[in-house]
């Protein structure tokens, strides 16, 4: 059996094109390795202790580059809206599917509280250790996913989730606008943030508050996305 017969022509040409492109890039990258003379990040690290937050990534995500995070929340918001729009089911009620098995049910009962609490922990301690709003929110959503798959009787109340989402989104922009009025810069840190409080739960001014808001927003949006996808699942 010759090579020609087993591998189609498109595969070969596709591989040739991409290999040529990537090897050219690789060649340039290998010849010009980055040198570490000046990094904006090093200056941000120096500034970081003045915000009183132990996790420098959190400070950068929420405060120094907080505008990006607002945009990111907007992307997630639009995506969740779009998924709801695209997958909107014609029949509203959830059709009963077959019961999930015993293992899944028991496992869900045992695990889901732990997962939800772990999500909350990650969310609230975002400014002190690894994690934060995004990760915590998504972990909470995965707990919700477990509950949704294990039980036919578990429903997400879309009204409650929508309220949470609205509250989080509006208060994020509002905090930003208060910062604009008080500190003269959008998303300015207008609450007290003392370096002596570093490491405490209540430290860093608005940073932990914003990250918790982000967590609520991400958690509710991801739950809606997951719910929409599963609902459609039962639909057809």
């Amino acid at each position: 059996m010759s090579l020609k017969r087993t591998i189609p022509m498109t595969t070969v040409s596709g591989f040739a094109v991409s290999a040529f492109f990537v090897v050219t890039i690789l060649n340039i990258l290998i010849k010009n390795m980055p040198s570490n003379i000046y990094r904006a990040g090093d200056e941000l690290l120096k500034l970081n202790s003045s915000e009183g937050v132990a996790n420098a990534v959190t400070t950068v995500v929420v405060y120094f580059r907080g505008f990006d995070t607002l945009g990111e929340i907007a992307v997630l918001f639009i995506a969740s809206l779009g998924i709801g729009l695209v997958l909107k089911s014609t029949t509203k009620e959830k059709i009963e599917s077959e019961e999930s098995n015993f293992m899944l049910k028991t496992g869900a009962k045992l695990l889901s509280p732990i997962i939800l609490i772990f999500g909350l922990y990650i969310m609230i301690y975002g400014h002190l250790s690894v994690g934060g709003g995004f990760q915590g929110g998504v972990i909470i959503a995965s707990g919700v996913l477990l509950l949704l798959t294990s039980s036919n009787h578990f429903h997400i109340s879309h009204r409650v989730v929508e309220r949470l989402e609205t509250f989080a989104g509006v208060s994020y922009v509002m905090i930003g606008l208060i910062g604009l009025i008080v500190m003269d810069s959008f998303l300015g840190n207008f609450l007290p943030h003392n370096i002596s409080q570093m490491g405490l739960l209540l430290s860093g001014g608005i940073i932990p508050i914003i990250y918790i808001i982000v967590g609520i927003k991400v958690g509710s949006e991801m739950s809606v996305i997951v719910d929409n996808m599963l609902k459609r699942d039962i639909d057809d």
Partner: protein, 81 residues
């Protein structure tokens, strides 16, 4: 040790990725794609970026696999034409 871990993970990742792409069964390739995510988590940890690793673990591995599995369930056939 560090260099070896990085090298080994990259090799594993490339092999998994190649298998993911050429695999004719869709279900297999979705499951294999989780492997790519997991090994990238490993690499992010090695590169001293725990935040990115956690994010990649919950989003890149967790949620995106869920999305692909959902897609797999609806885009029936299971096999490519």
């Amino acid at each position: 040790m560090l260099g070896l871990i990085i090298l080994g993970t990259f090799i594993a990742m490339i092999l998994i990725a190649f298998k993911t792409i050429i695999e004719p069964k869709l279900a297999h390739s979705v499951v294999l794609s989780m492997g790519i995510g997991l090994s990238s988590v490993m690499l992010f940890v090695t590169f001293q970026s725990p935040d990115v690793a956690l994010t990649q673990a919950v989003i890149g591995v967790g949620i995106s696999s869920l999305i692909f599995l959902m897609g797999l369930k609806h885009l029936r056939g299971g096999y490519e034409s």
